[in-house]
Symmetry: C2
Subunit: 286 residues, 2 copies
Amino acid sequence: MNIEHIRSFLEVAATGNFHRAGEHLHVTQSTVSARVQALEHRIGQPLFTRGRGGVALTTAGRRFHRYAVATVRAWEQGRQETALPEGFRASIALGTQVSLWERLVLKWIPWMRSALPDVALRLEADYSPSQMQKLADGLLDIGVMYMPRHIPGLAVETLLVEKLVLVSTRPCKVAPDWVADYVFVDWGEDFLVQHRQAFADMETPAVSVGLGAMGLQHILASGGSGYFPLRAVQPLLKDKRLYRVTKAPVFKRPAYMVYSADPSDQKLLDQALAGLRHVAREAADG
Amino acid sequence: MNIEHIRSFLEVAATGNFHRAGEHLHVTQSTVSARVQALEHRIGQPLFTRGRGGVALTTAGRRFHRYAVATVRAWEQGRQETALPEGFRASIALGTQVSLWERLVLKWIPWMRSALPDVALRLEADYSPSQMQKLADGLLDIGVMYMPRHIPGLAVETLLVEKLVLVSTRPCKVAPDWVADYVFVDWGEDFLVQHRQAFADMETPAVSVGLGAMGLQHILASGGSGYFPLRAVQPLLKDKRLYRVTKAPVFKRPAYMVYSADPSDQKLLDQALAGLRHVAREAADG
DNA sequence: CATATTGATCGAAAAATTCGATCGATATGG
DNA sequence: CCATATCGATCGAATTTTTCGATCAATATG
């Protein structure tokens, strides 16, 4: 069965008129008639009552209508999602965590556009678990994230290593007054482990924050200290709005890129990965 | 685009082999090849990597896969739902409330099977509001229910009038000791209004029940009185397990059938309605 | 190196789709 | 009552698409 036939059925149902349906579909009335008849024959039921001033759906036609909509929509959407934009040769689908978006992907886009102008880019910012699934299912070509799971068939490569440094709103060289104004920011499981090792005797901080940007806003507004990516606080250190606690340990937080070990277009993937490595070098903390 | 093409894509994706896919679809390998190529051309992307020992989905192919499944399923299901069973000329879709199922529809089915053996029956038991919507949408041909809403384009016809009579587990001629052992059964809005008019000074009964069968079970188990359909309690009256309170008012509870005022097959509908009227007469309280 | 398996390709045959013209039925207006 | 307009069905011819069988080239297997 042809999807054009189903689309014709929907158009006739909408207009109630074979001629008008034909116009909308850019075919003749006899074509519409033939299509609807083919559909009716395939289903084995009349879908329209042909009468006086046009047509109306039969009970069977109305029953079929919702499935017709679903069928056409599923096909149309699948085509849309899968097809390449006009004038492109291939496409790369990349998923990333929001926090790595600005830092890496935003710079990778122009790199790709100039290096491979005929490759369309499909980008999504999502959270890590669903992204790993999409990579495993082959729905994404590249994932950029902290803390990937290891899955067979997927290669994981360190892209850059962020340095998390302790900063405070007051100048001080040693670890600050814990508990009082320290803000614990959850930078993920790796950080948690390192943090616990370094500050084994530390009591539970009064404030702990799940999202980095929130923690930074908090200490800037209310004063305090906490671990933040060097890159993110560097301008604030220059402005003397924050001070680095130089004696405190520095933690490392690596970001990875994940990709298929056996891609359908090895060459294309290699180029895209090279671009990511390039922007990662440029974005390195130094 | 042809749905067989999409089905072929799915079969190839499942088997990883054009030959085997062809066998499953009862076509030759070259047909499968042509179909997949047509699909790829229509989408503008290769969906498989053809290689050494078979084929594998590309990223695009994997992306398309779920939509392919959705498309085929929607069409297949629509055809299933809409098509007539083998050897039937037409079909009638009837929806009813559960409580009227046994009373009417169960007897209507054999009537229809013998009167119109080449008409398929589609039956669903549902609750009134969604049923009226389905009737209005033309998804049902006939609805059988208490308390239909009136909707333009739908005809409503009284099918039978149930008599609700007061019965008690103890013999008594007059209204029983209210409140103490009377069970109020909610037989719908009409009943509520009549009941309130007849027993204006009645206090709120101790027990009120939403479903008729539950109320009947309750008074049979624990003793008491309440309104029930004459038809339902008649055998219990004969067995002297219940006694009718003859002086109490009798309430009427009409059941209706609802159908399109302008059906696509008037003659067929008329015959089905005649059948319903017939079984309703037989089921009348007398 | 022979052999088997894979998907692509080609040409011919078959099937389907499409179009334009026309038909019959029905409604509208004078 | 009749001329006219509108509607969908139908027909035949032209076109396009689909299918098949045979064959080819590439790649594994023993």
